[in-house]
Symmetry: C2
Amino acid sequence: MNKHPRNITLTEDQIPKQWYNLRADMPKQHDPFLHPQTKQVLKKEELYPVFCEALAAQELDETTRYIDIPEPVHNFYKIFRPSPVIRAYELERALDTPAKIYYKFEGNNTSGSHKLNSACAQAYYAKAQGLVGLTTETGAGQWGTALAMACAYYGIDLTVFMVKVSSQQKPARKAIMEIYGAKVIPSPSEETAVGRAILKEHPDTGGSLGCAISEAVEKAVTSQGYRYALGSVLNQVLLHQSIIGLEAKKQLELVDAYPDIVIGCAGGGSNLGGLSSAFMQDKLTGKANPYFIAVEPASCPSLTRGKYAYDFCDTGAVTPLAKMYTLGSQFIPSPNHAGGLRYHGMSPIISRLYYDGFLDEARGVEQTKVFESATLFAKNETILPAPESAHAVHVAVQEALKCKESGEAKTILFGLSGTGYFDLTAYTQFNNGTMTDYIPTDEDLAKGFACLPDVSNSAK
Amino acid sequence: MNKHPRNITLTEDQIPKQWYNLRADMPKQHDPFLHPQTKQVLKKEELYPVFCEALAAQELDETTRYIDIPEPVHNFYKIFRPSPVIRAYELERALDTPAKIYYKFEGNNTSGSHKLNSACAQAYYAKAQGLVGLTTETGAGQWGTALAMACAYYGIDLTVFMVKVSSQQKPARKAIMEIYGAKVIPSPSEETAVGRAILKEHPDTGGSLGCAISEAVEKAVTSQGYRYALGSVLNQVLLHQSIIGLEAKKQLELVDAYPDIVIGCAGGGSNLGGLSSAFMQDKLTGKANPYFIAVEPASCPSLTRGKYAYDFCDTGAVTPLAKMYTLGSQFIPSPNHAGGLRYHGMSPIISRLYYDGFLDEARGVEQTKVFESATLFAKNETILPAPESAHAVHVAVQEALKCKESGEAKTILFGLSGTGYFDLTAYTQFNNGTMTDYIPTDEDLAKGFACLPDVSNSAK
């Protein structure tokens, strides 16, 4: 018999009542957002055409440590939260490691990932402001599904610009968004000026996340009663996702555990930022010193090989400029890259924490190794991880095997941010040996860096 | 604020330690199984070539009220159980009903359904008997996935005969079984004598569940170290699934609730039998009198329009004969029938309970209405139901609307046996208005009844 339960649960009255705003404890803030045309520091009012007012305020709030979760959002959280922290006894046994492995599992909802944590907040604020609806983009489809669920729940409209190649490869993802009432438009499309321009230049393009963002933003600012929603990268998203780490810390306390290592996959940073939040607070305030590892695909290495620079958040250059680790807004991962984690940039908060050394390490990993660990995990822990989450699984396995070598019984916490039920094409490729790896050359990356905007004469 | 939580949880040490064998409390047993050739009452030993010995014993056990759950199975249960009972506050609000609606949700595992409850038991007993592996069949794919997960966990082989048309329409289901290490063979196949015979006569057939069962049984009895596993219909399966009802009863007690109405969808009976178990015990022993409703598709109406007669459990006539409600082993639902619940027969236990009036009602419903309720449920409760489970959702909605009319605040419990993540083709058809209904005519059914075996000179 195990001393502690596998499944460390909380009751619904233990769901945090406030989000934690990491910036209030950061010694240095990320450089301010810049207006895409003027390149001057962005004012809150300039965000209002794009975001709901409450969300624009959250985006720029550097000082309020805790922000109340509105009651209707808290009620929505009760539908799918608290999420479990699971002690990976079966994986530990399979690895024969002295390490204690825990994972926070965010996949037990129909969107299949943690994205719902921010989706329901963003849909709620839109509803509260009396808006007609939201626009957004989606790549792999988890964010689009989450926001479709949230908009259905609050009774507002949603238009999703879905990367064209994804909408073709993942008809099930498109279908599920439509079932929840969303309008799904393959991007680039004829619906927007930026889409038409891209199609004119590249009629056969499969689209990209950066391009879909441009279309969604344009559609929001040109449609009466609409605003734009984004599932990662933004400060507001990390704020909402802080609930993951707040819960996880409570749960580990219940079994007298505290992580030596915290591991999260990082695409735009929503999952890593959310899981890290409460533990990063301990680090920033000197209470504890966990070791943080961001895991990213070797094929889209924004932290490990990107530049810390101002860049656009989209391809069409309609979004504000953010100072972040970036591969350049024109960077698109090679076609053999499976799953998400394909964004060119990284959350400005995560970027700053990495730049300042609080986020200890970024590790780029190749996908064939990632799927190997994912399959091992699935066979022993039974859950099939999302390809994104599998990056964290893989590094947890690496660290657990190091413990086996050294004999150390470290406590490892990783984020199992979602399930891979809609990603079976990638798993099948791995399973039948046709999955390949790709590591961009320095020349490949140089092309992306060449497109970084010049802010030398205008910023700050 | 709601007085009681939405999510009624148990801790893992509250997972039942024993299964409940409903037969020990039934005043009348179902008529005995008959040997398929001799039509004489089947002896336990005659089941050994097909089932593990422990499972053969469970299949025929009419007297042991509680059966210990082996510790390795209990450990597996801890991976995905206890499952929640959820108070459907959001659905109640959407329906504006005074009814209190609860659902037991079994979909929070990678197989996506309750099938894992019996899969892990059957795989464990095979492992404990030192077998090499198991064979089985799958239609919609939930059972095959569950058994693949269980066999991967216990480290034994699995061969799945998958209804050919399903393997073509649901490549993701095939893929996920293969990821967990199963060998998946579209049925009918050249691998078995019965498959070859069917292919010779019907070279273009898309297959059927009854035919896939025949192939899996033949493969098991002709392969060294293999036995056969089935995901529904059998007494052993209902025994393992009793854990659903045992948990649900405990959970409702926590909020001082007891169901006036218990609703489950019924294909082979595993879900309905499992959910009903502990409440049916109360009815059989006179402690309470909940009203039980079995919901089945109007297109595959074994309880509502079938005959209570001896029949084969498969198409190829290799399985024992069971006394049950049946449409005839040659019955195949029309091609527009979506999802599972397509089996020609019904659990002998469920059949007996229905025949004797303990199962109060069977209700046949049309799929377009079912998907309408499923979509309403998804938009409000956020979970996308499996098409099978959506049958129970629909009748819960019907009963809740009756309460609205009468003003009664009845307590309704239904089984949300699984999720519809792999069934988006059907949802898309509903969503774009191309889904159709089909109710077999009496002439259609007469063809199935004409094939019922003659047991007049041999039984009992």
